[in-house]
Each structure stands twice: as structure tokens, then as C-alpha cells.
Symmetry: C2
Subunit: 453 residues, 2 copies
């Protein structure tokens, strides 16, 4: 059999728990600090913007956290998600490596993001919340929360980075089809938006600005909370369903990964796939190498510093210790919009600092070329974000061709490219360029990092 092989779990194997890596960390995470007092934050501080159940998960050190049955009900529509052996790609690469990919594009929103949007909507609904605010860059997260809001009867307000709002009208249409409100950020609807617009009337926005607006709106009304699509512990926790499924699927295949690869913007799809395997290793189980792939133009893990920083531009969020390029840094407009964030999940930052994760970075042209090579072999056009993982997997498979090793490579194909065809159009027309970040802008952003006592 030389073709793609699919490993599909039946529903009785849909995981009943998420995996919390905080239970197995060799050194605990640094505390999250209140932005005002710079003292460790309390559950009460967070309760202004998050529901209690989410805050508990954010702070938990329990290894297994139960997935509520109503969440599993919705997950069942597309989960367990398939794991594929990329035999056609292996053949095209003439590699002895075994390449597996977990495909999260099967969700109705086309990415891994509903894995956390659904439980976040559920917990908010359970606690009587009527409205959730959030931000979105490329639109995958906003689409997913819009979908989740529709499933649980919640009003959703999405601040979409202005440049994406205009470049990706179909993502906006997707959200509005599910009844969500989608606002171009910076906007006149918040003080933080108005402040930016007063200074930069032509601002095209950033995730940091959009987060400020969403958090501000959530803090204004008791019936409104805020949801974040990446970075935080509870988000990474919800994504571990992908890795737990993949563990079972690889067991069906009689295999175990030597390498687990994912692209990293805020870090959630990478962590979701990698943490269950890393947990095994941390508990004395099998060794595994983890590769986090970021764009060269927003090289948080590879060029950032490990420091306390804000999650947003207006400095409304708590301070977390993470790799960061500085919360005032605005990355250039490359196409993998989901990877344009100045920071990185504290858990991933911490584990990278401890040496458990190897970060690497690639330019967008190389990533698009890899994505097209993948599509021609495997039939699926990846999202530009996912192309970074594809690129790294191909590089590793090519190393195996040179060395003759037959490594088992697992990567997260975190979404399809159906809403990103303009990027492919530009690439195929030779119009796409590699972008670099301005070193002086990062230096300035880093110079502005808060000094933490």
C-alpha cells in the first residue's frame, strides 16, 4: 500500500480529559502578575474578564481535566480528527522517514481553534454570561468563537485587526453568517481604540490593539466576558485533545514519534499536539524532540527575550513571563496572520527556556513552496500558518534521506487554506516577497518592556 493512510478513532475513543502539562513541569511556571500592582494575580482579579471555570483551569496543576459532556457532544461533529500517514509525500521526497500529520482542518471553522472556542463558550454560558468579546487576526479564531457562540446561544463581538478586516472579507462574512458582530480594530467603540486612532488615524491595527479593545469592552459589563484564542494555559489545555487523539492513533499504527512539529504564533496548536507526548517524556517515558516553527518575520522564540510583558498594546492584560518581541512591536504584513503575535504562550516559553522545545524559523516563500509540494502529494491545501510546520517536516524528512535514518515525524496540519487563497494567488503569480522584521523596532519595543520588581 503506497498511498495515504488514515487513522480514524471511533467516537468511543474521543478523549474524556484534557492533559494539563502544569502537573508535570520540572520547574513551575513563573507567576502571572497584576498589571497594576505587579503582584501575583488572583482568581478574583481575573473574574472581571473570565468565567470561574476557565480561571480554575488556568491555575490548575491537576494532570487530567474532564471535558464536559456538552462540549464532547459538539466536538463529535468532527472529532476524533483524522491522523494521516503522508505516504504520497514520503514517496515524493524519497525519504525513509515516516511522516504523519494530524489534520485539524476538518472542523467547521477549518482549524484547531474550535477545540477551545467550544469549551470557552460552554463555560461562559454555564455561568450566565450573555456576551463574549474577543480579537482576531487572520480570522480563524473569530470564526471559531462565532461558531461556538451560535452553538451555545451567546452573543459574540469580534475585534478584527483592520488590515485583515479589509483583506479577508470572507472571514468576516463567515462570522456574520453565525450571527457574530465583527468590528475593524482600532475602532471608535473603545477608549483604547480611540486613543490609537487619535494618534494614528490610519492605523491598520494589530493583535495587541484588538486585545485591548476586546478586554476593555468585556470589563464594562457584568454579562460580558472575554475569550482568548491562544497563549493562555487553559487554551493550550483545550488543544491537548489533538495530541491525546494522536497518541491513540499512532498506537493503532504501531508507531511513536521521534519528532513532533507545529507552527507557533501564540503556541496553541503546537502545544496541543506536543504536550501529551512531552508529558510522557517528563514522567520518564519515551524521548521525543519538539520543534516549534515560527515565521522569520515574527521570530518570538528565536530572536525575542524571555521577560515579563503585557499581552496587549494598551497594557490592560496581566504580565506574563514569556518570550516576547515587545508588546508594542507590530510585525510586518506576511500572510500567516495567525503567527503575527509579539509574545508566546508562557508554558511554551518556559519549556523552551528549559531546553525541551527547539524553536526554528522560516521565510514565507519557502513555506508556501512547501505547502504546494504538500498539496500536490496529499491533496490538501494548508493554511499559510500550517505551511510552517509542513516546511519543517519536509526539512526533517530530507535530513533522513541524507542520513538514511527512518525517523517518525508527526506534525500538526492545523488548518486548511480555503480562506487564504489570495496568498496562494499572489505566490503563484510571483508577487509574494519574503518580509523581514525591523530590528530597530524590536529593539525599541524590547527597551519598553516593563521593569518587574
Amino acid at each position: 500500500m503506497s498511498d495515504t493512510v488514515k487513522y480514524l478513532l471511533d467516537e468511543q475513543h474521543l478523549p474524556r480529559h484534557w492533559y494539563n502539562i502544569n502537573a508535570d513541569l520540572p520547574v513551575p511556571l513563573d507567576p502571572v502578575l497584576h498589571p497594576g500592582t505587579q503582584q501575583p494575580i488572583t482568581a478574583d482579579d481575573l473574574a472581571v474578564i473570565f468565567p470561574r471555570a476557565v480561571i480554575e483551569q488556568e491555575m490548575s496543576t491537576e494532570r487530567e481535566i474532564e471535558i464536559p459532556e456538552p462540549v464532547r457532544e459538539v466536538y463529535r461533529q468532527w472529532r476524533p480528527a483524522p491522523l494521516y500517514r503522508a505516504r504520497r509525500l514520503e514517496k515524493a521526497l524519497r525519504t525513509p522517514a515516516k511522516i504523519y500529520y494530524k489534520y485539524e482542518g476538518v472542523s467547521p471553522a477549518g482549524s484547531h481553534k474550535p477545540n477551545t472556542a467550544i469549551p470557552q463558550a460552554f463555560y461562559n454560558k454555564q455561568e450566565g454570561v450573555k456576551r463574549i468579546t474577543t480579537e482576531t487576526g487572520a480570522g480563524q479564531w473569530g470564526s471559531s468563537l462565532a461558531l461556538a457562540g451560535s452553538m451555545f446561544g451567546l452573543e459574540i463581538v469580534v475585534y478584527m485587526v483592520k488590515v485583515s478586516f479589509h483583506h479577508k472579507p470572507y472571514r468576516r462574512a463567515f462570522m456574520e453568517t453565525f450571527g457574530a458582530q465583527c468590528i475593524a480594530s482600532p475602532s471608535e467603540t473603545t477608549a483604547s481604540g480611540r486613543a490609537i486612532l487619535a494618534e494614528h488615524p490610519d492605523s491598520t491595527g494589530s493583535l495587541g490593539i484588538a486585545i485591548s479593545e476586546a478586554v476593555e469592552l468585556a470589563a464594562q459589563r457584568d454579562d460580558t466576558k472575554y475569550a482568548l484564542g491562544s497563549v493562555l494555559n487553559h487554551v493550550l489545555l483545550h488543544q491537548t485533545i489533538t495530541g491525546i487523539e494522536a497518541q491513540q492513533q499512532l498506537e493503532m499504527a504501531g508507531d511513536y514519534p521521534d519528532l513532533v512539529i507545529g507552527c507557533t504564533g501564540g503556541g496553541s496548536n503546537f502545544a496541543g499536539l506536543a504536550f501529551p507526548f512531552l508529558g510522557e517524556k517528563l514522567r520518564g517515558g519515551r524521548d521525543v524532540e519538539l520543534i516549534a516553527v515560527e515565521p522569520s518575520a515574527c521570530p518570538t522564540l528565536t530572536k525575542g527575550v524571555f521577560a515579563y510583558d503585557y499581552g496587549d498594546t494598551a497594557k490592560l492584560t496581566p504580565l506574563v513571563r514569556m518570550y516576547t518581541l515587545g508588546s508594542s512591536f507590530v510585525p510586518p504584513g506576511f500572510h500567516a496572520g495567525g503567527l503575527r503575535y509579539h509574545g508566546m504562550a508562557p508554558q511554551i516559553s518556559h519549556l523552551t527556556k528549559l531546553g525541551y522545545i527547539t524553536p526554528t524559523s522560516y521565510n514565507q516563500l519557502d513555506c508556501f513552496a512547501a505547502g504546494i509540494q504538500f498539496a500536490k502529494a496529499e491533496g490538501i491545501i494548508p493554511a499559510p500558518e500550517a505551511n510552517h510546520a509542513v516546511k519543517a517536516a519536509i526539512i526533517e524528512a530530507e535530513k533522513c534521506r541524507e542520513s538514511g535514518e527512518s525517523k517518525t515525524i508527526l506534525f500538526n496540519l492545523c488548518g486548511h487554506g480555503n480562506f487564504d487563497m489570495q496568498a496562494y494567488t499572489d505566490y503563484l503569480a510571483g508577487k509574494l516577497k519574503d518580509l523581514t522584521y525591523a530590528e530597530d523596532e524590536v529593539a525599541m519595543a524590547l527597551a519598553g518592556l516593563p521593569s518587574v520588581a
Copy 2:
């Protein structure tokens, strides 16, 4: 359990045969006629544009036709496709009806079209063909054949209706990502294209014209054949995998449909789901009602005549007896591009004429409203074509609410709307209008039907 329920077959239940309804027709189909001689066409006549294996299937009356293993290998990437019980939609409609939908949007091209693109590419490859030409309207068929060409190493040339070529650049990018060539039709590359352009330099094209160009190009070179994405017997045959899977899945659910519903352009997704059930009925099994749903603006079954006509504008194709609005009729530019065809599959036409299929039609605004209602309940945004089936299913479920009957309704959700978000954008902005066909144009097209001896 009040939520959506998924019925997923494991791979060992992936069908090994397609179902050929020609074996069970109470009255055989009228012969296909040579466009020149008006005599019944021979396999040799067809061999100029089709591979032998496909011609055999086109003419076969065997009930079961084996699916080649290399085709099943590729199918396995996304098949068996899920069958869902739409419990959330049922609840929203407060209907005692049970609504099931077969979801074909899980294919890499996002629709049911790869079900026939894959075997057609396979048979061509097997017979040494190097290049396949085809036409596409909205782009779903062209995308699927591009994908299939990439899987089997074939060159693909797609003539895309010019208006869609410009309105749907992302479908073109999709095809080009898989290495296919996509040409706006009418074009200067063929005599039939040049003839149209000479008379109508601003022609926006039609499926009929694009078919003429693709057939002409295929007839020119021995290493080139032509592929059609709907209408013909072998295409409908390949699509029956959906109905055969659905039969097994409904058996898992302990249910059987009272109604099977599909949208009809050329007829392939409807036939694919409905024919296996109709075959049961024709062989003396359970009764089932079949509803074919078409757009009011291209009402082939509901307003056309049952007559011999050409499949294309330039009259290059054989003559088939079918419901038709006349091969020179160009329907107005509504959004369900896949339903803009002047004719209807001969098998469907024949069975409609015999009373086994009930045709109906809806306007596009009603269909979009139904699609959005479906999306909000079930989480999937349907393709504009599929919205026609959704609309009919909702109407039938509402009838059950009135009558108190608990009918079992099965419909084909033949594709997702990811590449059709402009239509949703226009609908949500109130810019979409209901379109009507010009009765005088249909009258003129019908007046020009060939007189068949």
C-alpha cells in the same frame, strides 16, 4: 441526547462497488445519438474523447460495478463521509421529523465532485492518457479534477466560464495550486471559443460553451481525453458511493428515509444519494419519495421539455434525451453556479418522466436564508447549491410540524460554502436579488431544439 449525531462507518465498510441504476430501470433509457448521423452512438464514436473503461460504464447495465482499489485508496482520505442527524436543526424547527444529511464537504475539494474525478483520472491514467480537458462553472468540478490529476500524475486543462473565472479567482488559485491550467472561456485557444468571441467579443461564457471548447481540445490529440463532472451515466454511477454509504449509516441509526432530497444542476449529487434507495424500491423494496431541487432561475425539470438535445452550445456532443431548456439558453447569474446548466442527466430526466422523482424549485434568497438557518444550528455553511437541498428539507420538516408526522428526511449536503463567501456577504448586506429566467429566451432556445428522426 439533543445534539448532532454523527454516523461514521469504519474503512472496512467503504463500498467496493458503485450502484448502476440502469440495471433496475422499469423502462430502458432512450439511446444516445451521434450528433452527425442521429444514429445510436457506438463505443468507438465515444473513444475519441473518453477512455474505454468509462465508455463501458456509460453503457453498462450491470447492477454492481467494482470500484478499483487505487480509487478506494484515494477515497479513503475522506471517505466513508459522515452522515449526520441534524438534531439541533430539528430542535430549532420544532419538528417531529428526523433530518439526516450526508456531508460531502469533507473532501479536499469541498464537494462531492472528487467521487467521480478520482475514478475518471484513474481510468484515463490506466489507458495511457497524458492530459484531460474539462469545463467548470463555479469551479467545484475543475478543482476536483485538478486534485485528481495531481494524485495520478495527469495534466489537467480546465475551461472556466469567464464570469466565474473573474468572480471566483480563488477557485482558479485552487486549481493552479494542484498544477492545473485554468483558461477563461470563451477563449482564443479553440475554434468554438473563437467563433463565439467573433460574434460576442464580450461574452461572459456559459457551461455549454466551455464544454464545446474542452471537447474540441480533447478531440485534437490522441494523448488527451475529456472528462465531464455531471449529467452522464458513469458520473452518476460514481456518485452512488454516497447513497450506498448512507444506506449503511442509516442502518446503524436504525432508520430508513421517507424522503431523499438533493439539489440538481446536472444531477449527480442528487442521483448519487438517491439512486441506491430508488433501486431498492424498483426491486420491490421499501418505498421512498425523491425530491430534486433546482433554482427557479434555471428550472430544467420543472419548466423544461423532455427532448433530444445537445450537451453543449457548439453542438459537438452527442444528443441525449433529457429535460432541457435548450442548449443555447444561458441562465442568469445567480450564485449557485453549479446549478446553471440547460439540461439534466438523462437518467434523472427519464425517472422524472416516469414519475419516480418529484422536481421542485426555489428562489435564491429563500435558499440563502435556509442555508444560514442551517449553519447557525449545525455549524456548517453550505455551498449555495446545497442550500437548495437544505431549503427543501426545511420545508418538508415544517410540513411535519404542521401534520405531526415524524418523517425521516435525508438530504445531500453536497459541499461547503468556503469558496462562496462573496455570495453570503452579498446576501447579508441585502444586495442579493431573486433572479428570473427570461421566458422568451427559453422559448427561443427550445424552438431551436434539433429535430430528431
